[in-house]
Symmetry: C2
Subunit: 196 residues, 2 copies
Amino acid sequence: MTYDERLDYLLSEAAKIFADKGFHSTSMRDLSRAAELSLAGIYHYVKSKDELLFHIQRRCFTEVLEGARAAVRAVADPEQRLQVFIGHHVTFFAAHMAEMKVLSHEADSLSGDHLAVVNDLKRQYGELLLEQLQGVAVGDVGSVDPRVATYALFGMLNWIYTWYDPTGPVSPDRLADQFATIYLNGVVAAPSGAQT
Amino acid sequence: MTYDERLDYLLSEAAKIFADKGFHSTSMRDLSRAAELSLAGIYHYVKSKDELLFHIQRRCFTEVLEGARAAVRAVADPEQRLQVFIGHHVTFFAAHMAEMKVLSHEADSLSGDHLAVVNDLKRQYGELLLEQLQGVAVGDVGSVDPRVATYALFGMLNWIYTWYDPTGPVSPDRLADQFATIYLNGVVAAPSGAQT
DNA sequence: TTTTCTACCGAACGAACGTTCGACCGCGAG
DNA sequence: CTCGCGGTCGAACGTTCGTTCGGTAGAAAA
């Protein structure tokens, strides 16, 4: 096992435990057990517990950001772009539950430079969504603040770590479709007739 | 100051600190400082740190549940009921930010009986929303699972603790309206014409 | 006046925490 | 062969944690 593989393994095991018990309730001893590495051995790969969380968050956020950029680049229609953004987020979330839960739930367990870096990624991701939102008219004649619409969607999307089971009856693809339907057209049946 | 007032004060100060630093990062010494009570004195009012969190969560959840029940009882139209439910949740959230953040963010910091009691309240609250949803047709001809629709709304609503400032430019009432618009009719402008 | 009880506190306890230290081992370079 | 170094470890460090214990002050009850 190379150095990089070992680090990967440590990070992914750590993500699982952080997701399960929370960052602050996880001890370095828990991690050493799960990563099959001595307590002291962990410090050969990371400087501190905080840095470990930082690595997990930055890596995951970078990946989801780049994935989303690539996904929306592939289609032209604004409404479809928004759909694709949602689809990518949900699918990625379902495929990386532990890391994404850590990203969503431990958003302010970091501080200082670490927090600043992650917050900058968050800003970029939010702006990417905002751009997609500008393509579709928001609400009935602009009565909805785009920033509110952004946070509303992220809430819907990120909340899934509290309840969703990717192996349950609702597949990630179907979940994505349903979220897109709700967010784009609402929960109330269209007033009969006209629908895409 | 009576016993009950003292306990209230302790609970509300504790809620603020839990909201600020998280449950596990808050020490009993932090609480004793904020509540102007000695460390040992706290244990005259609660049996443990866990019980303290439990009191905060149960009290807040009971209040929001009863408030929501009263709110939807007051109107008859199904669509308006849903609107009222959303309005109540947002307004209550904005008025009790600390407690509601603790409720949302420390959902599984409890265990055993305490967790079971809070989860039961959560179940009731979810069912109340589900009942409101049954009044309006969900999605275009039932393509959306009501359970998914429920979680989607709760995500939108509860996520506000991560970004919303009730004293900022968007008032709680306006936020509620915008959430209702998005959730009921979607973010895409209606295909021209017909709108309630 | 004496007793009882409620509210409260200082000091301490044992456990668990994140981190560090010094040493050991196997391996490629010299 | 031996030297140095990257990877690993057991043991310990100092600190902080949640909780408990024995006791005090003061008001109410006797």
